[in-house]
């Protein structure tokens, strides 16, 4: 027990650093993938068949292969193929950029399917009811369909975003120094501590707190939208 208290400050500060990296991947992925997913969903719903076919195939490939594989290919691939050393940049910066590129592409594809379901799930009659009342296309979108889409999107979105919290740990495969990498270091030896297993368990607390907060947040949004049924 004494040992634990002795190690705690060092470990805690290292885990906080790691968690900050995890958080960075999480936030930047959302900032990129939320809008990109919308663009991809428009592509897959396009009436121009060649475009929707290409987009759907791309989405199928991304959703059909492991994110870990995509991470490895994106991190090592361009450098090997183009013979450019440090294609994504130096050390930790390069690893961060490669990570978010892979995560944004992967999550944008998942989000695009959620958006598509939300958009197509709003009955066509809603649009027609707006039309016969003389509303413009943009009024129909902003005043009628948008909120109904959001209501449909929130539950699957919250699942996907909570999965993202845990998926950030995959970046460890290209040695990106997120929280699991940080705690694993104390197993191997770091800051004079080695063979310590408890930091690994302790990372679980971070994940649980973070996903717990998100669960509560999404629950509130769902509750806020529960006053109507569509």
């Amino acid at each position: 027990m004494d040992l634990f208290f002795e190690q705690f400050p060092t470990v805690f500060s290292a885990l906080n650093d790691g968690f900050l990296q995890t958080l960075k991947v999480f936030i930047v992925t959302l900032l990129g993938a939320l809008p990109l997913g919308l663009i991809i969903s428009f592509g897959s719903m396009s009436k121009f068949k060649p475009l929707s076919a290409v987009v759907k195939t791309f989405v199928w490939i991304i959703r059909g292969t492991p994110l870990m594989l995509q991470l490895l290919i994106i991190y090592y691939g361009p450098g090997i193929i183009l013979h450019i050393y440090n294609f994504w940049g130096q050390a930790e910066t390069g690893r961060f950029i490669a990570t978010i590129v892979a995560f944004i592409i992967n999550y944008a594809c998942y989000f695009s399917e959620i958006y598509r379901g939300g958009i197509q799930g709003v009955p066509h009659g809603q649009q027609e009811a707006g039309q016969v009342l003389g509303l413009s296309k943009s009024q129909i979108f902003f005043k009628i369909t948008l909120l109904q889409m959001i209501k449909r999107i929130v539950p699957p979105m919250s699942n996907e975003i909570i999965t993202l919290v845990k998926d950030t740990s995959l970046a460890r495969i290209i040695a990106f120094q997120e929280i699991i990498w940080s705690s694993e270091a104390f197993l191997k030896g770091s800051y004079g501590i080695s063979g310590a297993v408890w930091p690994l368990f302790f990372t679980g607390v971070y994940y649980l707190l973070f996903s717990g907060i998100l669960t509560i947040l999404f629950g509130l949004i769902e509750k806020k939208l529960s006053y109507f049924r569509s």
């Binding site: 027609e128 009811a129 039309q131 509303l135 109507f228």
Partner: protein, 257 residues
Amino acid sequence: MAILEVKNIEKHFGKTEVLKNICFSLNQGEVLAIIGSSGSGKTTLLRCLNFLEIANSGSITVNGKTIFDENIKLNDKTIRKNRLHFGMVFQNFNLFPQYTAFENITLAPKLALKNGIEIGIKSVEEIEKNGDELLETVGLSEKRDFYPCQLSGGQQQRVAIARALAMRPDILCFDEPTSALDPELTGEVLKVIKELKGNDRTMIVVTHEMNFARGVADKVIFMADGIVEEIGTPSEVFGNPKSEKTKAFLAKSLENI
């Protein structure tokens, strides 16, 4: 002068001809009932009047003003303006679920006011007063702030009627307004339509309710395979049908009652 004049309307989807040479006219305050078997083109006709479909040829004239023919160039703006001559009540209501009954009724007039679209209402106060009056007309004043999911089907349809009236259309169209309702709820909706007739409303009602068509309509059209097979007063069409198709249809409909 006729309030509505429909001439030679044709509509096809690809190679299938759905409406062929549709002609009829309607005077102010008249109720037209359109009957006919499934797939005969009744809904498509109403949709052409409301510009949800664009007819391939023919003309539509309201109050002497031609709002559709081959020579009129239709863009989003003219369609938005011209369709306001007609109101539309759908089979499955299509109320906006996120708005209360009152908000459903006042949303479109408020947006029209903001956009400077002329519907004869000059202020938000007037729109809201009008909204409350319309709720009273359809007998739902006490449901003013209820959401559609808190209303029965019959109540939802009555709100939908009020919503259509709020834009002050010249002619109100109904597409099988009671078909999605339980039998015990159809009466309250038909009663509202009858009351509107008493207020000199011009209406077109697509319906399978033969008793309603017979009792309320001034004019009946029987459609078959995209054409106006028979047109006349209820006593002419129901009492003394000329076409064999009409006779067969009526015999079958009466069998089902």
